[in-house]
Symmetry: C2
Subunit: 321 residues, 2 copies
């Protein structure tokens, strides 16, 4: 099977919304009149973003999920994506699994594969996702305001917990491990929540590298600081049963610096507290308030007694050795 | 230097046309009212698409050029692009060269870098380019008509010729080698010509895998066939001095199956012959008629006497072993 057969068999469907899909030099797409285009690209590399043991379907899901998560963090509605894929060889069972995971998530969000590229090379998956958002409605990192509450969606730390089990650093009972592994391999992009937070949240980002590190991007671009409490790490909707089963100090590490959660971290005025919780309820996802925006640069993490913690939390860093 | 410093130093500039550029979860872009979006992604892998000896600036140029060439083949105007880059390590001289080559070509076409991703991994460059085109004006592979003339822009075969010199299969005098190597490392995307051919050409594609192979895509999608002559390979504006210096049979191979030329291959009604040549003159690029579209499926290549050639020409195939 050659490149073109591979594309035809695993990555081609008739276009739906797109004017022209896979199979020409470019795809053609029309936006709704007056809408802005939102664009994001993510590249996934074996050993950096996923383990060689990751099942192919999970990888197809995750590669698109991390991109949809970027649209969610901007409050943009998914439209379409391109897929560029370098493969060491043509492995049909792998391609069948990968494309199944990809299509299932794409269909769930009405997000259409419109083009891309395949080539031989070390395994590399690069997706560029396109969405639309009304002008002025996008949730940006730069709009956090002093006094805003800081929220997270869903649960955090589980993906890191699963990774630590794979590394042999933590052991879990089977059901907890399975739950945590699913969070690592099958993250849920919070697309509906992102849309529901338009006009409600001031700033947003998705948690990919680690909560504190990603919060740092909001603080830097908004030129503000933050205080983060930790009582919620002890007991709240943001901590899963799997996370509850490990010691508090580890939990703190995984929740604040874990990465790969693909939950939304966002800020909103205290006036909007009801609307924030309603948005979560409407989307079926828990929302937890974890701190607030301050005028003082940097992040202060408070312990259970409300005293500043001096320990450091290291986020995921792509070029760390 | 970490990922974020790297992006800040080499890949960030203030946005110009984009509403929001590098540095948030998504970039935001507005199209001109009523325009369609044209999208293309290409992934370049060392050893497949470029040699390890390719200078970094050339690689920055080429990575964007092959994407702009896809827009050209659709008659779309370049707007913006994303860059996803996997790097084995942070090599600052390499990054300086690569980004210089990239920016120079981007600036020449007013095409803005609006986002992307960097990660550690085997060298891989994935660019997604965005352009715009009025609805109905895009040049598509599927619109070739029986009786159309088939044209190519510029010169073909030079990139393959340079590759053969690198492989030691051909030797050239220094000036010819340098000219051919430049065509391989610094292809010229025919963006202006693509725009000039709107409303003039019926179908178009860029020559990336090889003239006959790429022509095959037009024929397949348009459900037509073609006759290709070879007199132009003996002597025409499409054959460079470097190509003239090798034996006719080799020249035939390189011109018809070489790949990596990034010239446009297009078809147009004989009624449009004057407009085609005028478009070339206006854009400063030679145009050569090489054959015509027929109702009979397949491609017939005619020798200098006008008799069918029986030899096969193998296009570049990404998964060939």
């Amino acid at each position: 099977m050659g490149e073109f057969d591979l594309i035809a068999r695993y990555f081609t469907r008739p276009p739906r919304h797109a004017t022209l899909g896979v199979g020409d030099d470019c795809a053609l797409l029309s936006l709704q009149s007056g809408m802005q285009l939102a664009v994001s690209s993510d590249m996934l590399v074996e050993g950096r973003h996923f383990l060689s043991t990751t099942p192919a379907a999970g990888l197809g899901h995750k590669a698109l999920a991390v991109n949809l998560s970027d649209l969610a963090a901007c409050g943009a509605k998914p439209l379409a994506f391109t897929l560029a894929l370098a493969l060491p060889s043509i492995d049909e069972p792998w391609l069948a699994g990968f494309s199944k995971g990809l299509w299932d998530l794409a269909d769930a969000h009405g997000c259409e594969l419109i083009g891309g590229d395949t080539t031989q090379g070390p395994l590399n998956i690069c997706i560029t996702v396109l969405g639309e958002v009304p002008p002025g409605d996008a949730l940006l990192r730069q709009h956090a305001q002093v006094g805003d509450d800081i929220y997270i969606s869903g649960t955090v730390g589980d993906a890191r917990l699963a990774l630590e089990v794979f590394k042999g650093a933590v052991s879990l009972e089977a059901a907890h491990f399975e739950a945590a592994r699913l969070r690592m391999d099958r993250p849920t992009p919070r697309v509906e929540l992102g849309l529901a937070l338009r006009g409600v949240a001031n700033a947003a980002i998705d948690i990919s590298d680690g909560l504190l590190g990603d919060l740092g991007h909001i603080l830097q671009r908004s030129k503000v600081g933050a205080v983060i409490e930790t009582a919620w790490v002890q007991d709240s909707a943001a901590i899963s049963d799997a996370m509850q089963s490990v010691a508090f100090n580890k939990r703190l590490d995984f929740a604040l610096a874990g990465g790969d959660d693909y939950e939304l971290l966002f800020t909103a005025s205290p006036d909007q507290a009801d609307e924030v919780l309603e948005a979560g309820e409407r989307c079926g996802v828990s929302i937890t308030c974890i701190g607030r925006i301050t005028p003082v640069a940097g992040v202060q993490v408070l312990d259970l007694q409300g005293l500043p913690l001096s320990r450091r939390f290291a986020s995921f860093e792509h070029f760390a050795h």
